[in-house]
Each structure stands twice: as C-alpha cells, then as structure tokens.
Symmetry: C6
Subunit: 237 residues, 6 copies
C-alpha cells in the first residue's frame, strides 16, 4: 500500500501519518495569518517534483510572481521548475474580482486543463476560502451555510475526480478557535494539518499538529517547528 501514499515534502510529517497523505484526496493546512501555510503548500509541490510529481499551484489573493519571489528566499527556484514544465503557477483572482457567479464545476473544469497540461499529480490551492463564489440569489444565514457546504462538497469531489492529491490552505480567522473561514471546510476535507503561533514568554513559537487524517492512524502530538531558508518547514521531534 506504500505506493498509495503521497509524501508531504515536510521532513518528519510523513512519519506521523504512516508515510504520507492517502492519495487522490483533499487536505487542509489550517492556520491564522503568518503561520506558514503558503510555505507548506510550496514545499508540498517543490519536493513533490523531487519525488517525480508535477504540480499546479493555484493562487487567488497573491500574484504568482510574488510567490515565486518569496520561494527564492527559501532557496526554492520555482522558475526553473516552471521552465521544465514540472510546475504551473495559476492565478484565479480575475474569476472573483467582480464576485462573479462561478460554479464549482467550472472551476474544477479549468483546473483540469492546467493539470493535464503538465500531467500534474499534486495540486495546491492557496487559499480555499475565496474559491466559494457568490450564489445566484441573496441567502439568509441558514441557507448561506447550506450553500457553502454544497458548493465546497461539489468542488472537493470534482477535485478528487481530477486524480490529483490536493493541499488547500484554510484561513483561521484571527483570534478564533475555528479551523476555517466558513466552519464546514474541515468536515469536508480528508485531513487537516494545523499550523499555529503559540505565544511563549517573550515571543512566539511555531507549532504543528495533525487534527484529522481519514484512513490513517496518525500521531496525536503537538510539535514545534521552524522555517529554515533552503529547507522550509522543519519539525523538531
């Protein structure tokens, strides 16, 4: 069954989840702002290439050129990977700039094109929340909750059918105990890795834990980690 696992690219993390993410599903990396979600998503794709998997990186709030620039400070040359057709950087902002009414299937259909283009095995969506497009009609608060759930369920199922293993970043609204923007994403994903900034005496410490991993007898610990240029996220065990 070894070959059904997708290595995360995060040193140490794979051993906590029996070798990697079960293949072909959608996983969340959840954290408040500044916790390292984008680094995680990049690392997942960058080392994915080392493992032989091409990857597509979908960005909504950030310009792709910015991501490329930031990755360089981590020692990761994305442009090289892009030139080799092992990485595709996709910006979806225009779809949402007018809160256009986009269907979950349309988005998945577009992504299929990019995935096929480089025969990608990995997909990173950074972040998931703004992918939820406006509904056709004004929704009361009860209906809005149902709408978001249905929208994301369709999107996640469609992503699974694309054959890729997806890592989506999930914004934890600052200062809350939630795991996601809408409060339903975590119930729809197959697994969740949580990144947090833990306040200690005179500053902050980075911590990571696995909150959920369907079909995996995962480690239940909370682990400190650092982000190191050239290596990215490194877990201290």
């Amino acid at each position: 069954m070894e070959n059904l696992r997708v290595k995360t690219g995060i040193e140490g993390l794979d051993s906590f989840i029996e070798g990697g993410f079960p293949k072909g599903r959608v996983y969340l990396v959840a954290g408040e702002t500044g916790t390292g979600k984008t680094t995680f998503a990049l690392q997942y794709l960058y080392f994915g290439v080392e493992y032989g998997d091409s990857g597509v990186y979908v960005t909504i709030d950030e310009k792709p050129e910015r991501i490329v620039e930031d990755a360089l400070t981590l020692g990761w040359n994305l442009e090289k990977l892009m030139d080799e057709n092992k990485l595709l950087m996709v910006e979806l902002s225009p779809y949402f700039s007018d809160i256009k009414k986009v269907d979950a299937f349309q988005i998945a259909e577009n992504l299929r094109g990019y995935i096929n283009e480089i025969e990608a095995k990995r997909l990173a969506i950074d972040p998931i929340a703004p992918l939820v497009a406006r509904s056709d009609e004004p929704l009361t608060s009860l209906d809005a909750q149902m709408y978001v759930r249905n929208y994301l369920r369709k999107l996640f199922h469609a992503l699974e059918e694309l054959g890729v293993t997806t890592v989506g970043t999930s914004e934890i609204p600052t200062g809350t105990k939630k795991l996601s923007r809408y409060g339903v994403e975590e119930f729809l994903a197959s697994g969740i890795v949580v990144l947090k900034l833990q306040m200690v005496e005179t500053g902050f410490r980075r911590e990571l834990y696995i909150r959920k991993m369907r079909g995996v007898n995962h480690n239940m610990g909370i682990f400190p980690f650092i982000i190191q240029p050239g290596r990215g996220i490194i877990i201290s065990v």
Copy 2:
C-alpha cells in the same frame, strides 16, 4: 428486556448503557472534526453484522468508495459485507447538491427502500446536519430555528417508524461548546455519545462520554479511548 437492546459494537460502551442502545430510536455521536465519528458509525454497522444485523450506511459529504477504502485501514472489509447483502452504502449528496427543496418524509421514504432491500436493522447517517434541506421560503432567524427543529423532528420520527436503530453523527462546530450544528439535534435524539480531542501536555488524547441516554441509567464517567487498526474504538476503563 435484554433483547430490546442493540449492541453498539464498541467494546466497553455497552456495559456503560446497560447492554446497548434501546432499540428502534435515533442516537447521536457528537464530536468536532477528527474525533472519530465516522469510525464509530462504521464500527456500529460492521460489528452489527457480526451480531446478525444488516445495516445501511448513508453518506452525504464523502464518497462511499472513500469510506470503504478507509475502513480497510481499520481492517474492516466492507465490500465483502456489501457483496453478502449485509451492508448497503448509500450516497445522498446528489439530493442536496443544488440545495433542492427536499422534504423530511421524502428522505425517510428513500431510506425505507434501502432498508427493505437488505432487511436492515441498523442505520448510520454520517453526518446528520446536511440532511436538513432548504425551506420553501427565506426564513428569519427565529423562523429558521423553528423550521430546523420541525424538519428534524419529522425526520427522526420517520426514521423510528422504519424499525431501525439509527446512529447519526453530529458535527460540533470547531471550538464551540455546542453539541450539534443547529443546537436542537441533541434535544430531539434519544441519546448522545460525545467524542472529543482533549489537549494534554504535548498533544491530544481521545475521550468519550455518554451525555444522554433516555430510558437508561448510564455511566457518568469520561473515558480515554484509542482507535486501533483491526479493532476500531477501544475504551480504556
């Protein structure tokens, strides 16, 4: 009266509730994401077959094939049970993908078909929340609460009339002190088992307790448990 109890399939739990769930009612397994609700629901059906009861597993957010795959990692071969007509995996997502206006009775009617098909004695609905379909009209917040309560009451009563004993999973919104998505499910169910992730020094510990069990003089303790491949949920007493 021994024969009026339905064994839960969770080692240890039955002894806490005088032998099992009182037959023919609706029970909730409540927990945040990643607490083991799906494992509980599967275990309830899987060991149910060992006790001679066929079961229907209803899934809304997850594809049945995923559930089957995950069960395998717990050592449970669901396909075998499905082939023997002792288990039926049902996906209800399509009903809700367009927030269609579905009636509680319609859903129960559909379930009746599946139950009759394999003469099921056990039903698992994972999760309950998305079964609440959109109402015909936009509802203010006061009316929405009444609507959800009425909808779920009708559904629960209809399920009871189907003759099965139902375990429904109830999502506790992450970081809240609630027991359910809408805050009324727990008042309508005949019993509630709560699963939680208790933060301890350097990680999390799984815990379980019985919050409510109508007609049962149940144990009031909080118990640690583990999820073990091949055996599922095991309570440490």
Copy 3:
C-alpha cells in the same frame, strides 16, 4: 396555607420550598440536554397521582409511547395510570409540523379539553420552547423578541386560568449560560428549578438548585442528585 402548595414528587425538594410549588402557576425545570428534565416532569405527574392529583403530560418532540417506555425503566407504570384515567399523554407535534401559525389561546383551549377530561390538577409540558408558533409576518430581531415574550405571556396566563399547576421543561442551549431557549421564559415563569451536569475529575455529577420561586423563601443551596430506577430523582442533602 399548607393546602395551597403542590408537592413536587421529588424527595427533598419540597422541604427546600416550604412544602411544594405555590398552586396554580407555571414553573420551569431548566437544563441542558441529558440533565433529567423529562424525568422531573414525569416524577411530578407520577407521584402527583399518589397525592391524588390527575395529570396531563404534553409532549412535542418525543412520541408518547417512547415516554411510557422510558418511564418503565424508572419503575413507573404509566399505562396503568392512563387506564385509570389519572394520566393523559398528549402529543402536540402535529400542530407544529408545518410551522403552522397557531395562537397561544388555541393551544390553551386544546389543553383545557384534556384537563377537563380527567379533571387534571397537574400539567407537564416537555418542552416549552417548540410551543412558540410562527408569527404571521417575518419579524426583525427586535420584534421577534417582543413577539416571543407576548406569545409566552399569553400562554402562561392562559395556563394559570386553567386551574392547573404547570411544570414546563426549558432547554438550556448546550454550552451557554442561559436558562432557556429564548431568554425570556425565566422572567415569565413563577419559579425555576435548574438541573445540571457538573464536570468533576473523571466524569459528571448531577446537580440541582432553585433559581427562583416567587412567594417562597427558598433554599439557596446547590445539591447533588442521582436518578434511581424505581424512585427517580433523589437529592443528597
């Protein structure tokens, strides 16, 4: 004045409130799910019969046959009382299944019929919250609060005119510090007994206290209690 008190049927409780509930009013038994509200309501009627009072039990969310079944596990044979015309089990669900627009006076009028049928002195409504029927028009949040208060005031006044002493169960939304679903019930009732599950080291302990009792110099203590088959709620003093 002894004869103006209605014994609660709960051993010990009567002594905390100078002999019993002042006659002819509406009292709340408030608690989260699983705290013993239904047991309290049943005990109030069951022992009421022993004291010579017939009683009407109104259920909305639960089927009467379920209540009868559960009471048996407490050693209380309700069917016998029903056969002797000392107890009437009434299910009001159908009234509310379509969120019909029902008036508080209509409900009281219906109850009058049942009360007269067995010359009941005691009434239990389990629970109160779903008795609030939908209003004729959509209400903003300010108006909704006024509507619920007016509705319940009319209902409570009407119940008092029926000549019975009423115990209504009040759902405390799980995890909140409220005493009722709408936040106004406790101000309209003549008294409140609170049941709670107090978390202690390795489990839960049942506790009871009197929060309010108009016209009574009541005990201010918090008391542990157990629910024992054959005897129901027993307070440890």
Copy 4:
C-alpha cells in the same frame, strides 16, 4: 435638602445614598431572574405608604393578583393598602398582547390617570423592558437601537414630568454581563441598584450594590442581603 430625598424602604440602603433617591426621577433595579427585583419594587411602595406616599404598581408580565398573593408571604397586606387608596395595582399586559404600536406618551398619559387617582408619589414598573412597543416599520439593527433609546428617553422624561419617583425593574439577560435587556436603559436612568446571585461554595448568596446614582456621593461597596418574611430585603453591613 433632606426633603428632596425619597426613602427607598430598604433598611440600610438609604444610608448608602445620602438618605434616599433624589426625588422625581427614574431609577433601575437591575438583576437576573430570581434576584429579588419584584421584592425591591414592592418594598419601595409598601414602606412608601408608611412614609406617607401613595404608590402605583405597574405590572406587565405578572397578574396583579399574583403579586398581591406573593407580597402576603412577605407579610405585606397589599389589599389593605389598595382599599385605603394608598396603592393601585395596574396591569398593562393587554396593551402589549398583540405587539400593538403604542407610543411612549400614550403610556405616560395612562399612568398619569392612575397617579392622579390616588395622588401617588411613587411609581414602580415591573419590568421596564416590555414597555417598549413595536415600531411602525421594520427596523435594521442600527435603527432598532436608536428607536429603543428614543422610545425610552421619551418615556423616562414623561415619567419625570408626572412628578413621581419611579423604580423600574431591569432584566439582566441570564448569564450576560449586561445591566438591561436593550443595553441603553442604564444610560437613561438616574440611578441603578444591582441585585445578584453570587455563587459561593455550595450555593448562592444574594448581593446588592449601587452602580450609579446621579447627584449622589454613593457607597461603592458590595453587600450581602437576605429576604426575610415580614421585612423584605435586609442588607448586612
């Protein structure tokens, strides 16, 4: 200036506020349910008669006959005072039973009639919150706040012009840190006495403090009190 103070009727309290309430204004007695607000209001009127002031008691949620009954258990014979035209019990419920659109001036006008009838010097309104009548149009949440404030300001000013000194009870929503239902009453009243149930080891203790008293250099302490038959609220200094 001694003669410009209105004695509260609560032993001890007068000494905390330089002899009594400054005359002719509106004061709040704020507390959660069961804290003794009605006892305070009754005591204010009952001992007012001893001091030579007639009083009007306005009730909205409770029937006047209930209040009379409860007062008896405190040793206060209100019927006698009513027969001597020193006390008038007024029920305003009918005004609000249909959430009729009543103007603050109309209410004050009605009260003027009752006040003149017995030349009352004291007025008790128990409670204030339901006096806020429905507005002519549906209000958004911003407008609703402004509406309630304007409504109550007009009512309070009108009450002051009636020449009486008013004690209104203010419901603290259970479990909140508020001082009133709408959150503006306390800013409009000339003074506030807070009653609370303080949880101590094995039960509750009654406590009282003065939160605000315009034009008075009031005591800043928190004091335990008891409610004693025949004497009412007694502060332990």
Copy 5:
C-alpha cells in the same frame, strides 16, 4: 506652545498630558454607566470658566435642569455661570425624538449658533452616541458601519472648524471590552480618557487612564480617583 493647551479642570490629569488637551480638537471620555463621565464633562466646563473660557454643554438623554441640580451636589453653581453668560445648557433631545433624519452638518450649524452666542471656547457633548441620526435608507450591517463612521467623521471635523475644544462622553456598553457604542468613535477622536469601576474585594474603586492622546507624550499609568463634593474628580497619584 503652552498656550495651545486647554486645561482639563481635573487636578492631576493636566500633568499627565503635558499641560492639557491640545486645543481645538475632539476628545472622548469613555466609560460604562456610573463611572463619572458627566462629572468629567461638567468639571471641564466649570473650571474652564475659572480659566476664562465660556462653555456650551449639550445634553441629549438628560434634561438640562437635572444636570444643574446634580452639579449643585458637587458644589458647582451652574445657574450663576449661565446668568453670567459663561455657560449655555443646550438640550438636543427634540431633534432625535422621532429618529428624524438629521445631517451632521445641521447639528454642527446649530451648535455654531450657541457657541457664538457666548463666544464659547469649550464644548461638552454628553453623550456622543445618540447624535448619530438615522440614515435615509435601511442599511445592511456593512453599510451601517460605514455610515456611522462617515457621519461621525463629518461631525468631528465640523466641530473642529467651530474653533472649540470638545469633550464628548462615550458610552462603553456594559460588560464589554469596547470603548464606544459603535466601535469607531475612538479611532476618530484625537484623545481618549477612560473611566472605570474596578471591582476590588468588597466593592468598587474608580480608576482613570489615558488611552490615546494625539500629539502628546502622555502618562501610561492607571490611577485611582474619587469624586468629592466641591472638587469633583480628584486623582490619587
């Protein structure tokens, strides 16, 4: 630069802010009910007269004659100042009694008249919140926030153009951690003095601190204070 500061009239406070409020701006005195906001505003004007500045006192919720009466208990004879044309008491309630749609500029225009009448240098508005008049159209919650901010910005800028130095009282909703009714006032004002009731062992202690003071290197301490007849607010350093 000494002459560009406006003395607050509160003994001790001036030394905390380099001699007084920077001239010609809008300051908030924020506190829950009963914290001494009105005393602060009165003291600001009363001692202002001693310093040679005439002042206008704007009241919305309270009748001016009440304010005059209360000031007397603090030993401040406002009527004398009014007779000498050094103080003007203005009641703005009528403007808002029907939630009329008033523009921020209209209010400022009216105030200009009063200010010119006595060549006032100081203005006190007690409180600020009800000055926000109703908008022309119903506003969703997002728009309401923008509306209030724009309304108050215009009002504050207009007040600054009147050449006076303004102290406005800001109601802290009881039991919250906010500094104002709408949550934007503190960002628009040039400075904030906070008054609070700090619960200590057996009662409350008054405390004051400077939360913000643009252009001033202010003291960062929290100071106990008392309100003394004849002297008003006295800070213990």
Copy 6:
C-alpha cells in the same frame, strides 16, 4: 538583494526583518486605538526621506494639518518636507463622506497621480478600513465578506503596480483578538507589524511584534517600545 529592501525607519525593526520590508508590497501596521499606528506611518515616511525616498501620506479620518501639527511634537517638520516636494499629504475623506460608490481602481488611479507628482517610493494609508467603499447593492453577510475581500485584493494589487512600498494602518476593534476591521486584510497583506498596549501592574506598556512577513525569516519576539519626541518609536531589545 540588499537593495530590494525598504528600510522601515524604526530603529531595531529592520534588523528583525533582514534589513527592511521587501520592496513594492503592501504591509499592515495593526493596533487598537492609541497604540502608535500613525506614529509608525509617519516615521516610515519621514525617515524614508532621509534614505532618499519621497513619500505620500494618505489620510481619511484626520485632517492633514492635524497630522502635521502632531508630527511637530515628535520633532518632525513635515512642512519642510512638503515644501521640498519630498512629502505629499493627501486627504481622501471627501470621497467617502457620502458613502459614495467608489471603485478600488479609481482610488489607485488617483493615488498614481500623487505618486507621480513627487516620484514617491513610499506610500502610507492611515487607515485602510474606510477605503472600502460601499457596494452597488445591499449585500447579505456572506456576500459582504466576499465583496470586501475582492475590493481590497484589487486595491492591494493596484497599489503594488504603482511601484511603491505601502504601509497601511489596520484598526484592531477595541477589546477583540482580531487584527483588522474586516478580518481579511491580514490575509491579503504581505506583512503585519502589531502594536499593542499591554496592561501591566499599574499601567500600560507599549509592545511590538512581527506577525507575518512574506519572504522574510523574521524575528519571532515580542518587544517593548517607547515613543520619544525627536526619535519616534524606539524598540528596546
């Protein structure tokens, strides 16, 4: 790569972020009222001039002349810089005084004019929140969140295209754990510096930390700082 960093002007801060802000992006300085956000923004521009960069200061809630006045108390002569065409003070209030419907691109277009006028390299927007203009239609709460995110994303991207490095101040609603008014700003910005008032024994202490800095291996400590006339924000390491 040294030349791609923009010095912050805050002594000590640059060393925490590898020499300065990565060039050409949008950064937030987040804090409650009175924490020093405006001082930070001014210091960023004032010392920017010393480093050879001209700057544009955009103000919405405050009049530019006030800012100039306050800067003087910090020893910074802005008028001199304005005369030398090294600083431009821009007031955007009029755009928003009628909650006009302004597009994010229009605002950016206007800013381009000012930036070109003095060939600015730095831009300060104080604060960001009121820049979000009203939408064309009333928005439900779900749509409002999407609208604000899309609006700010467009604005931030447009600002980046102007070639300047932007510091925007972000209001933390008083008493909350948020980092911004709308809860999305922090996810859209490239970095966040947080300023806070930490309550210590008898007063407040100013503290600063870096919460997020894309592409920078930033310091994770929390540092006390003071605001000193002539020097501005000084961090104690």
